[in-house]
Symmetry: C2
Subunit: 185 residues, 2 copies
């Protein structure tokens, strides 16, 4: 039995901003609250739902619509469904929000380009600067910052604990996850 | 709160055999039992997850893997996830069974080709016979009958009530849906 109401926690941000890291940090915390949770990670979804799609705006939108379709089915059935794809276009994020039957919580995982480029966790920025990877978000492809995200975390300044706490505080305040007392019971 | 344990109810059978009809008949019955339920219908999934894929074996397998990926996520989170695609190849059905974290119940929705062709609900068999639709299951593309389906229903002989009852009887017997007494409570 799940403790959770089900909602979509939609992370958006540059490659390397910490979307997946934050998701993986939160998942065991949600499980400890006896909530059902799934993470639709960008890389995993491209493998399982979107193989063959590229990085044109059209293909990116198709990829995001697939993620949104699955996230919606999960969240309307009581699952906390976390999405952790770059999702650079505001219009398609708004479309997913509109289509979501459960609560939709947009989390802007913000970090300055110079920070994520210095991190370059997967070595992708180097390849993008060298032109080996085309249409790379932030370098040769746009990233549209969210104007009305429910939560913004700044992973350049904040520790992961602080970023996670900001997410949890919002979800508690909205009654989307059990209060701390209930969690202990 | 859902009453259900979550499992995948994997329908397979020729086009027009009654997979979607049976699914749509069962869905409100599951809801009456206070179970969460979703249906991944062949046509809807092709629109939402598999646009651009054709009907070669490779593309069909990709389509089925996507359905299986989503069905698994739903069913392991307590949702009855019904799939209603033709899924003509035995090996890929077996692969989905292997990968499923929850119970996997294969339902062979059987009807003889002459029966479904005479029904021709969507006018597809006529087009397939005329060669307008290529690679049409049962006409110009293979359908591999399940050898070990948990349930087989014969929609050529049985009423939809009888087919649905056969499914419910199996699920009751396996404890996958609440007993009738519990449903009334």
């Amino acid at each position: 039995m799940s403790n959770s109401k089900g909602f979509t926690l939609w992370f958006t941000g540059l490659s390397g901003a910490g979307k997946s890291t934050l998701a993986q940090y939160l998942i065991p915390m949600f499980r400890d609250m006896n909530c059902n949770v799934e993470c639709l990670d960008g890389d995993e979804v491209r493998e399982n739902l979107s193989k063959g799609l590229g990085f044109s705006k059209e293909d990116r939108d198709t990829n995001i619509r697939r993620i949104g379709y699955v996230a919606n089915m999960l969240s309307r059935n009581g699952v906390i469904s976390i999405t952790a794809a770059i999702s650079p276009y505001a219009s398609i994020r708004d479309e997913m929000r509109e289509k979501c039957d459960a609560a939709f919580v947009e989390v802007y995982v913000e970090a300055p380009l110079e920070v994520v480029e210095a991190r370059d966790t997967k070595g992708l920025y180097k390849k993008a600067r060298a032109g080996i990877i085309k249409q790379f978000t932030g370098i040769s492809d746009p990233y549209e910052e969210p104007k009305n995200a429910e939560i913004t975390v700044h992973t350049g300044d904040q520790s992961i604990e602080e970023s996670a706490q900001a997410v949890l505080d919002y979800l508690h305040a909205k009654g989307l996850i059990p209060a701390k007392e209930a969690q202990k019971a």
